[in-house]
């Protein structure tokens, strides 16, 4: 079982690294696309274009920084929640790890969507990503509760 777990974790780590690098590539292209859009708007005399540029750039930068600096510590925190020291301890640990892997990719997907949507002019893109983050925090809050129930029921 440990071999299966380590293979899955290794595969997920490789996927994470590739997707994060891909995110950087997409981010650069989206910023360029945003710049083209803004230059076009400014060129034909839209004064609002510069303000929109500032807002859009800040949104994209916030999405990237949140993914890079906010998400990994939050997910690592989930792995540190102590598991029940019983027969179910291993299962709990594997489940926690699986959950963290799924949530990491979900946050990555949300960040991709936020950057794409923001570059195309959606003002709600970053808010949607923050909603995903709130979901992750919700799961973080539920995990100790589940551990507590396990301790109460199994007496471990």
């Amino acid at each position: 079982m440990d071999e299966v777990v380590s293979t899955v974790v290794s595969l997920a780590s490789q996927a994470w690294e590739s997707l994060v690098t891909g995110f950087l590539v997409i981010l650069a292209l989206m910023l360029l696309a945003y710049a083209i859009r803004t230059t076009a708007a400014y060129g034909v005399g839209s004064g609002k274009a510069i303000g929109e540029t500032a807002v859009g750039f800040i949104g994209i930068v916030a999405a990237a920084l949140f993914l890079f600096l906010g998400v990994p510590p939050m997910l690592r925190e989930m792995l540190e929640i102590t598991a029940c020291s019983h027969v179910v301890a291993d299962i709990t640990l594997w489940s926690q790890r699986a959950l963290v892997i799924l949530l990491a990719f979900r946050m990555l997907k949300a960040a991709y969507m936020a950057v794409f949507a923001q570059a195309m002019g959606s003002g709600e893109a970053v808010a949607i990503m923050l909603q995903e983050a709130a979901g992750v925090i919700g799961v973080m809050l539920i995990l100790p509760f589940i551990s507590g129930v396990a301790v109460g029921l199994l007496g471990c």
Partner: protein, 88 residues
């Protein structure tokens, strides 16, 4: 498996980046020309305010394009340094 995919994505992105930079430069040049013509016409008719607007437009486009070319690469370099390892 992922490395090959990433290499393909990077190749496509390189092409798109070159295309995008070309489009941006062409657009900036055309819009600056348009503003210059606008300013010249306004000057010919004696509208000082419109001429100032045209000159400001040219400067604005220049600042926009230059800041894009300076800001995006330096921001990407900063993010490359902060690239997080897998959190699991």
């Amino acid at each position: 498996m992922f490395t090959d995919l990433l290499a393909q994505l990077t190749a496509i992105a390189n092409d798109f980046w070159s295309f995008g930079v070309g489009v941006l430069l062409i657009m900036a040049a055309l819009f600056m020309l348009y503003r210059a013509m606008q300013g010249t016409a306004a000057l010919g008719f004696g509208s000082g305010q419109m001429t100032v607007g045209a000159v400001m437009g040219i400067v604005g486009i220049l600042i926009l394009v230059l800041s894009v070319f300076k800001v995006i690469p330096s921001f990407m370099d900063m993010l490359k340094i902060a690239q997080p390892p897998a959190p699991f």
